[in-house]
Symmetry: C2
Subunit: 309 residues, 2 copies
Protein backbone atom coordinates (compact mmCIF):
# COMPACT_ATOMS: atom_id res chain seq x y z
CA UNK A 1 0.00 0.00 0.00
CA UNK A 2 2.69 2.53 1.02
CA UNK A 3 5.02 1.05 -1.61
CA UNK A 4 2.45 1.76 -4.31
CA UNK A 5 1.88 5.25 -2.92
CA UNK A 6 5.61 6.04 -3.09
CA UNK A 7 5.74 4.74 -6.63
CA UNK A 8 2.80 6.94 -7.52
CA UNK A 9 4.53 9.95 -6.02
CA UNK A 10 7.69 9.24 -8.01
CA UNK A 11 5.52 9.12 -11.13
CA UNK A 12 4.07 12.54 -10.29
CA UNK A 13 0.58 11.16 -9.67
CA UNK A 14 -1.08 14.08 -7.91
CA UNK A 15 -3.63 11.92 -6.11
CA UNK A 16 -0.80 9.86 -4.60
CA UNK A 17 1.13 13.03 -3.69
CA UNK A 18 -1.91 14.39 -1.90
CA UNK A 19 -2.43 11.14 0.02
CA UNK A 20 1.21 10.83 1.07
CA UNK A 21 1.23 14.45 2.28
CA UNK A 22 -1.78 13.71 4.46
CA UNK A 23 0.02 10.66 5.84
CA UNK A 24 3.10 12.76 6.56
CA UNK A 25 1.07 15.52 8.21
CA UNK A 26 -0.48 13.03 10.57
CA UNK A 27 2.58 10.81 11.06
CA UNK A 28 2.83 10.38 14.84
CA UNK A 29 6.35 9.11 15.33
CA UNK A 30 9.57 9.52 13.52
CA UNK A 31 10.37 5.82 13.32
CA UNK A 32 7.25 5.19 11.34
CA UNK A 33 7.78 8.03 8.90
CA UNK A 34 6.31 7.09 5.51
CA UNK A 35 9.07 9.20 3.99
CA UNK A 36 11.82 6.85 5.05
CA UNK A 37 11.83 4.98 1.75
CA UNK A 38 11.10 7.97 -0.41
CA UNK A 39 14.14 8.89 -2.43
CA UNK A 40 14.55 11.58 -4.97
CA UNK A 41 17.14 11.84 -7.69
CA UNK A 42 16.74 15.53 -8.14
CA UNK A 43 16.79 18.58 -5.99
CA UNK A 44 14.02 21.11 -6.27
CA UNK A 45 14.79 24.78 -6.03
CA UNK A 46 13.03 25.90 -2.83
CA UNK A 47 11.82 29.51 -2.82
CA UNK A 48 10.28 31.17 0.22
CA UNK A 49 7.92 34.10 -0.34
CA UNK A 50 6.99 36.21 2.65
CA UNK A 51 5.93 39.72 3.63
CA UNK A 52 3.18 41.61 5.46
CA UNK A 53 -0.51 40.88 4.81
CA UNK A 54 -1.80 42.77 1.78
CA UNK A 55 1.55 42.88 -0.01
CA UNK A 56 0.15 40.73 -2.83
CA UNK A 57 2.13 37.58 -2.18
CA UNK A 58 -0.50 35.30 -3.73
CA UNK A 59 -0.74 37.33 -6.92
CA UNK A 60 3.03 37.38 -7.18
CA UNK A 61 3.16 33.63 -6.65
CA UNK A 62 0.55 33.15 -9.40
CA UNK A 63 2.69 35.17 -11.79
CA UNK A 64 5.76 33.14 -10.87
CA UNK A 65 3.83 29.91 -11.52
CA UNK A 66 2.97 31.12 -15.02
CA UNK A 67 6.55 32.18 -15.71
CA UNK A 68 7.89 28.86 -14.48
CA UNK A 69 5.46 26.96 -16.71
CA UNK A 70 6.28 29.19 -19.69
CA UNK A 71 9.92 28.17 -19.19
CA UNK A 72 8.99 24.49 -19.42
CA UNK A 73 9.44 23.81 -15.70
CA UNK A 74 7.15 22.38 -12.99
CA UNK A 75 6.30 23.72 -9.55
CA UNK A 76 4.82 22.77 -6.18
CA UNK A 77 3.26 25.42 -3.94
CA UNK A 78 3.05 25.13 -0.16
CA UNK A 79 0.87 27.92 1.21
CA UNK A 80 1.48 28.26 4.92
CA UNK A 81 -0.81 30.28 7.16
CA UNK A 82 0.48 30.15 10.72
CA UNK A 83 -2.57 32.07 11.92
CA UNK A 84 -5.03 29.60 10.46
CA UNK A 85 -5.95 26.41 12.28
CA UNK A 86 -7.25 25.01 9.02
CA UNK A 87 -5.40 22.93 6.51
CA UNK A 88 -5.85 21.36 3.14
CA UNK A 89 -6.69 24.21 0.82
CA UNK A 90 -9.04 26.13 3.02
CA UNK A 91 -7.96 29.60 1.94
CA UNK A 92 -10.26 31.17 -0.59
CA UNK A 93 -7.45 32.36 -2.85
CA UNK A 94 -6.03 28.88 -2.82
CA UNK A 95 -9.32 27.33 -3.83
CA UNK A 96 -9.36 29.54 -6.93
CA UNK A 97 -5.77 28.61 -7.76
CA UNK A 98 -6.37 24.97 -7.10
CA UNK A 99 -9.31 24.91 -9.45
CA UNK A 100 -7.24 26.57 -12.16
CA UNK A 101 -4.51 23.92 -12.04
CA UNK A 102 -6.66 20.97 -11.01
CA UNK A 103 -5.94 19.01 -14.18
CA UNK A 104 -2.43 20.32 -14.67
CA UNK A 105 0.30 17.82 -13.72
CA UNK A 106 2.91 20.55 -13.73
CA UNK A 107 1.49 22.41 -10.71
CA UNK A 108 0.67 20.99 -7.28
CA UNK A 109 -0.79 23.26 -4.58
CA UNK A 110 -1.17 22.52 -0.88
CA UNK A 111 -2.29 24.74 1.99
CA UNK A 112 -1.15 24.15 5.54
CA UNK A 113 -2.50 25.60 8.76
CA UNK A 114 -0.68 25.72 12.04
CA UNK A 115 -2.91 23.63 14.32
CA UNK A 116 -1.56 26.10 16.86
CA UNK A 117 1.94 24.67 16.60
CA UNK A 118 4.28 27.02 14.73
CA UNK A 119 7.46 25.06 15.16
CA UNK A 120 5.71 21.91 14.08
CA UNK A 121 4.41 23.70 11.01
CA UNK A 122 7.92 24.59 9.89
CA UNK A 123 9.02 20.94 10.28
CA UNK A 124 6.00 19.51 8.52
CA UNK A 125 6.26 21.93 5.61
CA UNK A 126 9.77 20.62 5.03
CA UNK A 127 8.50 17.05 4.98
CA UNK A 128 5.80 18.07 2.53
CA UNK A 129 8.38 19.67 0.27
CA UNK A 130 10.34 16.41 0.31
CA UNK A 131 7.27 14.70 -1.15
CA UNK A 132 6.99 17.35 -3.85
CA UNK A 133 10.70 17.01 -4.59
CA UNK A 134 10.31 13.25 -5.00
CA UNK A 135 7.52 13.88 -7.49
CA UNK A 136 10.08 15.66 -9.64
CA UNK A 137 9.00 19.30 -9.32
CA UNK A 138 11.66 21.75 -10.48
CA UNK A 139 10.57 24.47 -8.07
CA UNK A 140 8.91 24.47 -4.68
CA UNK A 141 7.45 27.75 -3.46
CA UNK A 142 6.70 28.31 0.22
CA UNK A 143 4.19 31.13 0.49
CA UNK A 144 3.69 32.37 4.03
CA UNK A 145 1.70 35.03 5.82
CA UNK A 146 4.38 37.11 7.49
CA UNK A 147 4.01 37.21 11.26
CA UNK A 148 7.24 37.11 13.20
CA UNK A 149 8.90 33.88 14.19
CA UNK A 150 6.84 31.73 11.83
CA UNK A 151 8.15 33.45 8.74
CA UNK A 152 11.72 33.12 9.91
CA UNK A 153 11.26 29.39 10.49
CA UNK A 154 9.71 29.02 7.06
CA UNK A 155 12.51 31.02 5.49
CA UNK A 156 14.99 28.55 6.91
CA UNK A 157 13.27 25.90 4.79
CA UNK A 158 14.07 27.68 1.51
CA UNK A 159 17.13 27.97 -0.74
CA UNK A 160 16.30 31.61 -1.33
CA UNK A 161 13.80 33.90 0.36
CA UNK A 162 11.86 36.69 -1.35
CA UNK A 163 10.40 39.41 0.87
CA UNK A 164 7.46 41.24 -0.74
CA UNK A 165 6.59 44.81 0.24
CA UNK A 166 4.29 47.49 -1.18
CA UNK A 167 4.87 51.28 -1.49
CA UNK A 168 2.68 51.72 1.60
CA UNK A 169 5.08 49.48 3.53
CA UNK A 170 7.20 52.45 4.60
CA UNK A 171 6.25 51.63 8.16
CA UNK A 172 7.14 48.04 7.58
CA UNK A 173 10.74 49.13 7.61
CA UNK A 174 10.10 48.80 11.32
CA UNK A 175 9.51 45.13 10.77
CA UNK A 176 12.97 44.77 9.37
CA UNK A 177 14.35 45.14 12.82
CA UNK A 178 12.49 41.93 13.48
CA UNK A 179 14.81 40.04 11.18
CA UNK A 180 13.51 40.52 7.62
CA UNK A 181 16.83 41.97 6.49
CA UNK A 182 18.62 38.89 7.71
CA UNK A 183 16.36 36.45 5.87
CA UNK A 184 15.81 38.28 2.55
CA UNK A 185 17.83 37.27 -0.50
CA UNK A 186 15.60 39.29 -2.83
CA UNK A 187 13.21 42.16 -2.14
CA UNK A 188 10.16 42.76 -4.31
CA UNK A 189 8.39 46.13 -4.20
CA UNK A 190 4.99 44.98 -5.45
CA UNK A 191 2.24 47.31 -6.76
CA UNK A 192 5.06 49.50 -8.07
CA UNK A 193 2.65 51.52 -10.23
CA UNK A 194 1.58 53.30 -7.05
CA UNK A 195 3.28 56.45 -5.83
CA UNK A 196 6.08 55.92 -3.35
CA UNK A 197 7.38 52.78 -5.05
CA UNK A 198 10.67 54.29 -6.18
CA UNK A 199 11.11 56.00 -2.84
CA UNK A 200 10.67 52.70 -1.01
CA UNK A 201 12.99 50.91 -3.43
CA UNK A 202 15.81 53.41 -2.93
CA UNK A 203 15.24 53.52 0.83
CA UNK A 204 15.51 49.73 0.85
CA UNK A 205 18.69 49.80 -1.22
CA UNK A 206 20.24 52.28 1.20
CA UNK A 207 19.30 50.17 4.20
CA UNK A 208 20.55 47.00 2.54
CA UNK A 209 23.80 48.64 1.59
CA UNK A 210 24.21 49.82 5.16
CA UNK A 211 23.52 46.39 6.62
CA UNK A 212 25.30 44.31 4.00
CA UNK A 213 27.98 42.02 5.30
CA UNK A 214 31.12 40.96 3.53
CA UNK A 215 30.24 37.31 3.46
CA UNK A 216 26.98 37.78 1.61
CA UNK A 217 25.65 39.28 -1.59
CA UNK A 218 23.57 42.40 -1.06
CA UNK A 219 19.93 41.49 -1.82
CA UNK A 220 18.57 42.89 -5.10
CA UNK A 221 15.40 44.98 -5.10
CA UNK A 222 12.86 44.41 -7.90
CA UNK A 223 9.98 46.72 -8.84
CA UNK A 224 6.98 44.59 -9.80
CA UNK A 225 3.29 45.03 -10.65
CA UNK A 226 1.96 41.50 -10.26
CA UNK A 227 -1.57 42.31 -11.44
CA UNK A 228 -0.17 43.63 -14.75
CA UNK A 229 2.65 41.08 -15.09
CA UNK A 230 5.19 43.91 -15.02
CA UNK A 231 8.66 43.05 -13.78
CA UNK A 232 8.01 39.32 -13.40
CA UNK A 233 10.39 38.25 -16.17
CA UNK A 234 13.12 40.39 -14.60
CA UNK A 235 12.43 38.84 -11.19
CA UNK A 236 12.56 35.31 -12.62
CA UNK A 237 15.88 36.13 -14.28
CA UNK A 238 17.10 37.62 -11.00
CA UNK A 239 16.24 34.39 -9.20
CA UNK A 240 18.12 32.34 -11.81
CA UNK A 241 21.17 34.58 -11.61
CA UNK A 242 21.23 34.47 -7.83
CA UNK A 243 20.93 30.68 -7.86
CA UNK A 244 23.79 30.41 -10.33
CA UNK A 245 25.95 32.66 -8.18
CA UNK A 246 25.08 30.66 -5.05
CA UNK A 247 25.90 27.42 -6.83
CA UNK A 248 29.25 28.76 -7.97
CA UNK A 249 30.38 30.14 -4.64
CA UNK A 250 29.07 27.17 -2.69
CA UNK A 251 26.48 28.98 -0.55
CA UNK A 252 23.61 26.95 -2.03
CA UNK A 253 25.23 23.68 -0.97
CA UNK A 254 26.18 25.20 2.38
CA UNK A 255 22.60 26.26 3.08
CA UNK A 256 21.24 22.86 2.13
CA UNK A 257 23.67 21.07 4.39
CA UNK A 258 22.97 23.36 7.32
CA UNK A 259 19.22 23.00 6.67
CA UNK A 260 19.50 19.21 6.67
CA UNK A 261 21.55 19.34 9.83
CA UNK A 262 18.95 21.50 11.58
CA UNK A 263 16.19 19.16 10.48
CA UNK A 264 18.01 16.12 11.80
CA UNK A 265 18.69 17.84 15.14
CA UNK A 266 15.09 19.00 15.49
CA UNK A 267 13.61 15.64 14.59
CA UNK A 268 15.97 13.72 16.83
CA UNK A 269 15.18 16.09 19.68
CA UNK A 270 11.44 15.56 19.16
CA UNK A 271 11.99 11.82 19.05
CA UNK A 272 14.13 11.73 22.20
CA UNK A 273 11.52 13.75 24.06
CA UNK A 274 8.73 11.39 23.00
CA UNK A 275 10.69 8.32 24.06
CA UNK A 276 11.79 9.85 27.36
CA UNK A 277 8.45 11.24 28.53
CA UNK A 278 6.63 8.03 29.37
CA UNK A 279 3.28 8.51 31.08
CA UNK A 280 4.99 7.41 34.32
CA UNK A 281 7.46 10.26 34.12
CA UNK A 282 4.75 12.73 33.17
CA UNK A 283 2.69 11.69 36.18
CA UNK A 284 5.66 12.01 38.48
CA UNK A 285 6.42 15.49 37.19
CA UNK A 286 2.81 16.52 37.63
CA UNK A 287 2.87 15.33 41.26
CA UNK A 288 6.15 17.06 42.10
CA UNK A 289 5.00 20.32 40.56
CA UNK A 290 1.88 20.30 42.70
CA UNK A 291 3.99 19.96 45.86
CA UNK A 292 5.61 23.32 45.21
CA UNK A 293 2.85 25.19 46.99
CA UNK A 294 4.69 27.30 49.53
CA UNK A 295 8.33 26.40 49.03
CA UNK A 296 10.22 27.40 45.97
CA UNK A 297 10.73 24.50 43.62
CA UNK A 298 14.28 23.41 42.88
CA UNK A 299 14.04 22.63 39.19
CA UNK A 300 17.41 20.93 39.02
CA UNK A 301 16.48 18.64 41.89
CA UNK A 302 13.18 17.80 40.17
CA UNK A 303 15.02 16.83 37.03
CA UNK A 304 17.36 14.55 38.98
CA UNK A 305 14.31 12.79 40.42
CA UNK A 306 12.84 12.28 36.99
CA UNK A 307 16.09 11.20 35.36
CA UNK A 308 16.63 8.60 38.08
CA UNK A 309 13.10 7.22 37.62
CA UNK B 1 33.71 24.74 48.37
CA UNK B 2 30.29 24.65 46.66
CA UNK B 3 28.71 23.88 50.02
CA UNK B 4 30.19 27.04 51.46
CA UNK B 5 29.11 29.02 48.43
CA UNK B 6 25.51 27.84 48.81
CA UNK B 7 25.59 28.76 52.47
CA UNK B 8 26.86 32.20 51.58
CA UNK B 9 24.07 32.65 49.05
CA UNK B 10 21.46 31.69 51.63
CA UNK B 11 22.98 34.30 53.94
CA UNK B 12 22.61 36.94 51.22
CA UNK B 13 26.37 37.36 50.82
CA UNK B 14 26.56 39.28 47.53
CA UNK B 15 30.06 38.06 46.69
CA UNK B 16 28.87 34.46 46.98
CA UNK B 17 25.76 35.24 44.92
CA UNK B 18 27.92 36.71 42.21
CA UNK B 19 30.23 33.67 42.19
CA UNK B 20 27.41 31.16 42.08
CA UNK B 21 25.76 33.01 39.20
CA UNK B 22 29.00 32.82 37.23
CA UNK B 23 29.16 29.10 37.98
CA UNK B 24 25.58 28.69 36.84
CA UNK B 25 26.12 30.70 33.67
CA UNK B 26 29.02 28.47 32.73
CA UNK B 27 27.58 25.19 33.99
CA UNK B 28 28.12 22.74 31.13
CA UNK B 29 25.84 19.86 31.99
CA UNK B 30 22.58 19.52 33.79
CA UNK B 31 23.70 16.69 36.05
CA UNK B 32 26.42 18.83 37.49
CA UNK B 33 24.24 21.85 38.13
CA UNK B 34 25.50 23.69 41.20
CA UNK B 35 21.85 24.60 41.84
CA UNK B 36 20.84 21.06 42.63
CA UNK B 37 21.32 21.52 46.37
CA UNK B 38 20.17 25.09 46.48
CA UNK B 39 16.84 25.32 48.22
CA UNK B 40 14.80 28.34 49.01
CA UNK B 41 12.10 28.66 51.62
CA UNK B 42 10.51 31.66 50.04
CA UNK B 43 9.26 32.63 46.64
CA UNK B 44 10.35 35.88 45.11
CA UNK B 45 7.88 37.93 43.11
CA UNK B 46 9.26 37.88 39.59
CA UNK B 47 8.50 40.96 37.50
CA UNK B 48 9.39 41.28 33.82
CA UNK B 49 9.86 44.76 32.37
CA UNK B 50 10.01 45.09 28.62
CA UNK B 51 9.28 47.55 25.83
CA UNK B 52 10.92 49.25 22.82
CA UNK B 53 14.35 50.89 23.13
CA UNK B 54 14.10 54.44 24.47
CA UNK B 55 10.94 53.83 26.49
CA UNK B 56 12.84 54.50 29.71
CA UNK B 57 12.83 50.99 31.14
CA UNK B 58 16.03 51.50 33.17
CA UNK B 59 14.79 54.73 34.75
CA UNK B 60 11.49 53.06 35.60
CA UNK B 61 13.34 50.10 37.10
CA UNK B 62 15.44 52.50 39.20
CA UNK B 63 12.26 54.12 40.53
CA UNK B 64 10.79 50.72 41.33
CA UNK B 65 13.96 49.77 43.21
CA UNK B 66 13.62 52.87 45.37
CA UNK B 67 9.93 52.22 46.03
CA UNK B 68 10.62 48.59 46.93
CA UNK B 69 13.37 49.66 49.37
CA UNK B 70 11.14 52.39 50.85
CA UNK B 71 8.62 49.64 51.58
CA UNK B 72 11.21 47.64 53.49
CA UNK B 73 11.66 45.00 50.81
CA UNK B 74 14.69 43.69 48.90
CA UNK B 75 15.21 43.20 45.17
CA UNK B 76 17.39 41.50 42.59
CA UNK B 77 17.71 42.92 39.08
CA UNK B 78 18.54 40.82 36.04
CA UNK B 79 19.20 43.12 33.09
CA UNK B 80 19.00 41.11 29.90
CA UNK B 81 20.25 42.45 26.60
CA UNK B 82 19.68 39.85 23.89
CA UNK B 83 21.49 42.02 21.35
CA UNK B 84 24.64 42.26 23.43
CA UNK B 85 27.26 39.55 23.39
CA UNK B 86 28.62 40.92 26.64
CA UNK B 87 27.74 39.89 30.12
CA UNK B 88 28.48 40.80 33.69
CA UNK B 89 27.49 44.44 34.00
CA UNK B 90 28.81 45.72 30.74
CA UNK B 91 25.98 48.17 30.07
CA UNK B 92 26.85 51.74 30.94
CA UNK B 93 23.56 52.43 32.70
CA UNK B 94 24.06 49.30 34.76
CA UNK B 95 27.54 50.34 35.83
CA UNK B 96 26.07 53.53 37.29
CA UNK B 97 23.34 51.59 39.07
CA UNK B 98 25.77 49.00 40.31
CA UNK B 99 28.00 51.62 41.81
CA UNK B 100 25.04 53.19 43.57
CA UNK B 101 24.06 49.94 45.28
CA UNK B 102 27.50 48.40 45.57
CA UNK B 103 27.44 48.40 49.38
CA UNK B 104 23.70 47.83 49.73
CA UNK B 105 22.75 44.27 50.69
CA UNK B 106 19.14 44.89 49.73
CA UNK B 107 19.83 45.27 46.01
CA UNK B 108 21.68 42.88 43.73
CA UNK B 109 22.16 43.75 40.06
CA UNK B 110 23.38 41.47 37.28
CA UNK B 111 23.59 42.03 33.52
CA UNK B 112 23.39 39.18 31.07
CA UNK B 113 24.27 39.17 27.37
CA UNK B 114 23.12 36.63 24.87
CA UNK B 115 26.38 35.06 23.67
CA UNK B 116 24.34 34.76 20.47
CA UNK B 117 22.02 32.21 22.04
CA UNK B 118 18.59 33.69 22.76
CA UNK B 119 16.88 30.54 23.94
CA UNK B 120 19.80 29.78 26.21
CA UNK B 121 19.61 33.27 27.64
CA UNK B 122 16.01 32.77 28.72
CA UNK B 123 16.95 29.51 30.46
CA UNK B 124 19.99 30.90 32.18
CA UNK B 125 18.17 33.99 33.41
CA UNK B 126 15.73 31.68 35.18
CA UNK B 127 18.60 29.84 36.85
CA UNK B 128 20.08 33.15 37.92
CA UNK B 129 16.77 34.21 39.43
CA UNK B 130 16.71 30.97 41.42
CA UNK B 131 19.99 32.03 42.98
CA UNK B 132 18.55 35.43 43.86
CA UNK B 133 15.46 33.76 45.27
CA UNK B 134 17.60 31.57 47.50
CA UNK B 135 19.35 34.69 48.78
CA UNK B 136 15.98 35.83 50.08
CA UNK B 137 15.15 38.72 47.74
CA UNK B 138 11.48 39.72 47.89
CA UNK B 139 11.37 40.86 44.28
CA UNK B 140 13.25 39.88 41.16
CA UNK B 141 13.02 42.23 38.20
CA UNK B 142 13.89 41.06 34.69
CA UNK B 143 14.65 44.08 32.58
CA UNK B 144 14.93 43.31 28.89
CA UNK B 145 15.58 45.22 25.69
CA UNK B 146 12.50 44.47 23.65
CA UNK B 147 13.28 42.74 20.40
CA UNK B 148 10.83 40.07 19.34
CA UNK B 149 11.13 36.48 20.46
CA UNK B 150 13.62 37.22 23.20
CA UNK B 151 11.24 39.39 25.14
CA UNK B 152 8.49 36.81 24.95
CA UNK B 153 10.84 34.15 26.31
CA UNK B 154 11.88 36.45 29.12
CA UNK B 155 8.27 37.32 29.88
CA UNK B 156 7.57 33.64 30.37
CA UNK B 157 10.08 33.75 33.24
CA UNK B 158 8.05 36.32 35.20
CA UNK B 159 4.99 36.22 37.45
CA UNK B 160 3.79 39.46 35.93
CA UNK B 161 5.02 41.38 32.90
CA UNK B 162 5.05 45.16 32.57
CA UNK B 163 5.24 46.61 29.06
CA UNK B 164 6.63 50.16 28.96
CA UNK B 165 5.70 52.53 26.14
CA UNK B 166 6.14 56.29 25.54
CA UNK B 167 3.72 58.78 23.94
CA UNK B 168 5.77 58.53 20.76
CA UNK B 169 5.12 54.79 20.75
CA UNK B 170 1.95 55.22 18.66
CA UNK B 171 3.67 53.27 15.91
CA UNK B 172 4.62 50.64 18.42
CA UNK B 173 0.99 49.61 18.43
CA UNK B 174 2.20 47.75 15.37
CA UNK B 175 4.46 45.79 17.64
CA UNK B 176 1.49 44.57 19.59
CA UNK B 177 0.60 42.33 16.72
CA UNK B 178 3.88 40.69 17.54
CA UNK B 179 2.54 39.49 20.85
CA UNK B 180 2.94 42.33 23.35
CA UNK B 181 -0.78 42.28 24.16
CA UNK B 182 -0.59 38.61 25.00
CA UNK B 183 2.32 39.00 27.42
CA UNK B 184 1.41 42.30 29.16
CA UNK B 185 -0.23 42.22 32.59
CA UNK B 186 0.35 45.94 33.12
CA UNK B 187 1.04 48.73 30.64
CA UNK B 188 3.08 51.79 31.62
CA UNK B 189 2.92 54.93 29.49
CA UNK B 190 6.22 56.45 30.54
CA UNK B 191 7.24 60.10 29.97
CA UNK B 192 3.56 60.94 30.41
CA UNK B 193 4.32 64.66 30.75
CA UNK B 194 4.77 64.74 27.00
CA UNK B 195 1.90 65.45 24.62
CA UNK B 196 0.10 62.40 23.30
CA UNK B 197 0.34 60.48 26.58
CA UNK B 198 -3.39 60.52 27.28
CA UNK B 199 -4.18 59.72 23.68
CA UNK B 200 -1.90 56.68 23.79
CA UNK B 201 -3.32 55.58 27.14
CA UNK B 202 -6.92 55.65 25.92
CA UNK B 203 -5.98 54.04 22.62
CA UNK B 204 -4.30 51.28 24.62
CA UNK B 205 -7.34 50.85 26.84
CA UNK B 206 -9.57 50.51 23.80
CA UNK B 207 -7.31 47.94 22.23
CA UNK B 208 -7.01 46.00 25.47
CA UNK B 209 -10.77 46.02 25.96
CA UNK B 210 -11.21 44.77 22.42
CA UNK B 211 -8.68 41.97 22.85
CA UNK B 212 -9.51 41.03 26.42
CA UNK B 213 -10.44 37.44 26.97
CA UNK B 214 -12.84 36.11 29.53
CA UNK B 215 -10.29 34.05 31.38
CA UNK B 216 -8.01 36.95 32.15
CA UNK B 217 -8.06 40.35 33.79
CA UNK B 218 -7.78 43.24 31.37
CA UNK B 219 -4.31 44.81 31.86
CA UNK B 220 -4.31 48.17 33.64
CA UNK B 221 -2.63 51.19 32.04
CA UNK B 222 -0.53 53.51 34.24
CA UNK B 223 0.66 57.01 33.34
CA UNK B 224 4.14 57.52 34.72
CA UNK B 225 6.97 60.07 34.57
CA UNK B 226 9.93 58.09 35.85
CA UNK B 227 12.38 60.99 35.80
CA UNK B 228 10.08 62.97 38.14
CA UNK B 229 8.91 60.00 40.25
CA UNK B 230 5.33 60.67 39.14
CA UNK B 231 2.94 57.71 39.13
CA UNK B 232 5.42 55.24 40.64
CA UNK B 233 3.54 54.80 43.93
CA UNK B 234 0.35 54.11 41.97
CA UNK B 235 2.19 51.59 39.80
CA UNK B 236 3.65 49.82 42.85
CA UNK B 237 0.18 49.64 44.39
CA UNK B 238 -1.20 48.36 41.08
CA UNK B 239 1.42 45.59 41.09
CA UNK B 240 0.49 44.61 44.67
CA UNK B 241 -3.23 44.57 43.86
CA UNK B 242 -2.70 42.49 40.75
CA UNK B 243 -0.56 40.00 42.70
CA UNK B 244 -3.22 39.70 45.38
CA UNK B 245 -5.88 39.09 42.77
CA UNK B 246 -3.71 36.49 41.04
CA UNK B 247 -3.03 34.77 44.34
CA UNK B 248 -6.73 34.66 45.17
CA UNK B 249 -7.93 33.32 41.86
CA UNK B 250 -5.06 30.86 41.52
CA UNK B 251 -3.48 32.27 38.36
CA UNK B 252 -0.20 33.03 40.15
CA UNK B 253 0.17 29.40 41.22
CA UNK B 254 -0.93 28.25 37.77
CA UNK B 255 1.70 30.36 36.06
CA UNK B 256 4.44 29.16 38.37
CA UNK B 257 3.54 25.54 37.80
CA UNK B 258 3.42 25.92 34.05
CA UNK B 259 6.69 27.85 34.13
CA UNK B 260 8.34 25.08 36.15
CA UNK B 261 6.95 22.51 33.76
CA UNK B 262 8.35 24.37 30.75
CA UNK B 263 11.73 24.66 32.43
CA UNK B 264 11.85 20.95 33.19
CA UNK B 265 10.88 20.07 29.63
CA UNK B 266 13.44 22.44 28.15
CA UNK B 267 16.26 21.31 30.40
CA UNK B 268 15.48 17.64 29.91
CA UNK B 269 15.40 18.18 26.16
CA UNK B 270 18.78 19.90 26.29
CA UNK B 271 20.14 17.08 28.44
CA UNK B 272 18.83 14.33 26.19
CA UNK B 273 20.35 16.03 23.17
CA UNK B 274 23.74 16.32 24.86
CA UNK B 275 23.73 12.67 25.89
CA UNK B 276 22.55 11.47 22.50
CA UNK B 277 24.91 13.45 20.30
CA UNK B 278 28.17 11.67 21.01
CA UNK B 279 31.10 12.76 18.86
CA UNK B 280 30.67 9.47 16.98
CA UNK B 281 27.13 10.36 16.01
CA UNK B 282 28.10 13.91 15.12
CA UNK B 283 30.87 12.63 12.85
CA UNK B 284 28.53 10.21 11.17
CA UNK B 285 25.98 12.94 10.54
CA UNK B 286 28.65 15.20 9.10
CA UNK B 287 29.76 12.46 6.72
CA UNK B 288 26.25 11.62 5.57
CA UNK B 289 25.40 15.26 5.00
CA UNK B 290 28.43 15.69 2.78
CA UNK B 291 27.34 12.75 0.60
CA UNK B 292 24.22 14.65 -0.41
CA UNK B 293 25.99 16.39 -3.24
CA UNK B 294 23.84 15.61 -6.27
CA UNK B 295 21.05 13.45 -4.86
CA UNK B 296 18.41 14.80 -2.57
CA UNK B 297 18.98 13.75 1.00
CA UNK B 298 16.34 11.61 2.71
CA UNK B 299 16.31 13.11 6.18
CA UNK B 300 14.23 10.33 7.69
CA UNK B 301 16.60 7.72 6.34
CA UNK B 302 19.56 9.65 7.76
CA UNK B 303 17.93 9.68 11.18
CA UNK B 304 17.34 5.95 11.08
CA UNK B 305 21.05 5.46 10.37
CA UNK B 306 22.00 7.63 13.32
CA UNK B 307 19.48 6.13 15.71
CA UNK B 308 20.73 2.63 14.88
CA UNK B 309 24.35 3.63 15.48
Amino acid sequence: MTEELLKGVRNNDHVCISRLITLVENAPLLEKSPLQDLNSNKKSIRIGITGPPGAGKSTLTNELIETILANGKTVGIIAVDPTSPFTGGSLLGDRVRMNKYMWDDRVFIRSMGSHGDLGGLAHKSQDVSDVLEASGKDFIIFETVGVGQGEIDIASAADITIVVLVPESGDEIQLMKAGLIEIADIFVVNKSDRSGANKLASLLKNILHYFSKNNRKEPEVFNVVSTKSIGIAELYLGIQNLLMLMKDNGTLEQRRISRSKDRVYNKVSEYLGKVFWTSNKKDKLKKVLKLSDSKSLNINWVIQQILSE
